[in-house]
Amino acid sequence: MMNDSLGYGRIILSLMLAMGLRIIPLPSFLAGLNPDWVLLSLIYWSLAVPERVGIFYAWTFGLLTDVLLGRLLGQYALAYSLIIYLCLKLHKRLRQFPILQQGLFIFFCLLLSQLLLFVIKNFQNPAQLHGSFWLPVFTGTFCWPMVYTTLRYIRLIRPNN
């Protein structure tokens, strides 16, 4: 038995769920808005249990996301590792922040990740910048309170025994 109420199973399961949400079939006008659920979940877990979820998790799930979305291997891994590094560095302060300031931080995290992905995509084959490429950053920020409350609920469930 684990002597801690929080198992790794929950973390991994929630991240896999986020990966599922990432590729859920939506009508085309909504598909452009689908935020980066995997990154949001990783940010939550790295802020809540930084001693458990660190850069290794970020890198591994980044690599799996690359395969999931058929991207170049390593681009999501790179972006996620950098963002989670920032979260780990700042988690003590961020936990004290009110939800609005936290939201601002999440916004910049998502923006940075999207920027990195754009740079790598541009390196692969120069593409014109479509304005709607940045939309998931905004929807992701709006979804943060929901992700926060859902994952907090998952974290605090006590197994019956």
Binding site: G20, V67, L69, L73
Partner: protein
Amino acid sequence: MNEAAAIKLLFAVGPSINTRLLAAILASSALLTTELRGLQLEPVRAALSFFVDPIRYMVDMPATLIEQTTQSINSYTALKRENELLREQQLVDHTKLLKFKALEQENIRLRALLENSFKLGEQVLVAELLSVKMAPYEHVVLVNKGTRFGVHPQQPVLDANGIVGQVIRSLPMSSEIMLITDPSHAIPVQVNRNGLLTVAVGSGQISRLNLPFLPNNADVKPGDLLITSGLGGTFPPGYPVAVIDEFNPQPNKPFASITATPKAMLDRNRELLIVWSNSNPIPLTSKSPGKETGSEHNDE
């Protein structure tokens, strides 16, 4: 006990967070540069897909379940009507095929007389679309057949009406297919009416292809059927691709603006055909059989 464990986790021994970040960045950059240089990391991807494919199949499950339930609650009369229609269709198709067999033989004989070998005969595999969305602005779809069934990149994909696209990546349990309407896809085509050769480029819209390389005086008119020309070797020749719907000459530019509508139902079909072209050319009559097999051996 609990506290001890927590403290042990808090002061975890091991490399510092900076070192870990450095390792992660180095590892990702190594992967990225390898992929950008076009070297193959497909085995790594195939191994990782064993963790990822279950997620894809899970996301696809609701759509499959809905389809199955609608099929099972179809009324008897509807099924009977559908059955009759299909039987009629099959009869018509079969009759057409009877003549096709004779024409095929005649074509082979004529081509042999002209000493002109060409590829004929294809094998197909039915694959089912998984309803997942990989990337919002790319026309890439996922099907449920992969390297386990011998699917490999650059294979053409068809449906009952025409060319759908080509396989761009095959994983053990699934493969990614780029549709002909993807902005980075181009397909060599030919106007069926007069044999005019050109290239059809994807427009990014699901019901439109562009033909950007035809001059203003090209002999093309709305309603013309475009078929695959077989140039480039990816797509077998003679399959319908699209129908021209607009031809606008642009006097101030070197090329006309021409758009076409794909024949295949790109956004509605759930069943697709993955094609293996028969790679052996038809033997020429002028050569002796023994000599020819020898030369083929040398080529391969």
